[in-house]
Symmetry: C2
């Protein structure tokens, strides 16, 4: 019997994904109207600025019970006013679905929020591992000067709920103030 070559690759160094059934989503500044506190700073920036990209391997249909998806989030460095570039953040549609994140390159913060609005934040760095329990919203923030790359694995039936976050945020923002990274 033939021993086949692997169908997909996931770079150890930077998390780049390639091979069959992979795709990429690009999020630009214009896709995140209302997410940042400083609207004046937001409006002065180029709406085509790429904030982050997500590469994803989807070997089964979204919604498949027992299936999994795998991906890497790449966040560019930068700020809107004092607030660092971040992902939209979401709860899962099937609310009890968990997720793993692990840091590959760069420096960042993972922000968590429960359904009652209680937030917490954890540093992300190369070699950090983070479990996101079910019922917890999650957002990645790039607090460094270089690209932040974070691996992820999540259930194929988890889905995404962006609405609640777009409306009321995480109750905490990751900013640079006087050269210090803070959550406030």
């Amino acid at each position: 019997m033939e021993i086949k070559d692997p169908r997909n690759h996931f770079s150890k160094e930077n998390g780049a994904l390639s091979g069959e059934k992979t795709s990429k989503t690009i999020r630009k500044l214009k896709d995140m109207k209302g997410f940042y506190e400083d609207e004046e700073a937001f409006n002065k920036m180029d709406p085509e600025t790429v904030l982050y990209e997500v590469e994803m391997h989807a070997p089964v249909k979204a919604g498949t019970e027992g299936g999994l998806f795998f991906g890497t989030s790449f966040l560019n460095p930068g700020k809107v006013g004092e607030e660092f570039f971040m992902t939209k953040g979401h709860f899962h549609e099937i609310i009890n679905r968990a997720e793993y994140y692990w840091g590959l390159e760069g420096e960042g913060v993972l922000v968590f929020m429960d359904e009652d609005g209680n937030a917490s934040a954890e540093k992300v760095c190369p070699g950090s591992l983070h479990f996101v329990p079910g019922k917890i919203a999650h957002r990645l923030v790039n607090t460094g000067d270089t690209k932040l790359a974070v691996g992820a694995c999540w259930p194929a039936d988890a889905g995404h709920q962006y609405g609640p976050i777009a409306e009321s945020g995480f109750g905490v923002r990751i900013k640079e103030k006087n050269g210090t990274i803070i959550a406030e």
Copy 2:
């Protein structure tokens, strides 16, 4: 609000896991009686020989719907007769649960088998990514001269069925014959 340090680490270089809620399982030669073809070679070896170790992060109870587990399998190099050191291999107890594997260090093979006994095999190397669909048994084999380290993420309610494999194997064995790695 404080930005906390990560609770867990997952080495980019070699897959070592550390931090809260991690544990390690060790599989020795004596735990795998009946799995290898060459029983004479098996019986001549030290039964305390460590074949592989699995480091695991289990942040929720086994059986938690929507939860995930994360781990690294470390297979030592070696052979029993012509057959390379391998994991026991298993179906998941909830048979439709999938899993991801990704190669971190060393060279190996991932063997798949469906419920009808149809097997296939894929090379594993640093940077390879492998989706194990539901209803597919899976086994790792170290075909190299160094440790094989493979990352994994799977549903917390997947469970393990070792019985069918212990009885009838994968229908294919990964061996070295005349200096060549073959599946037969």
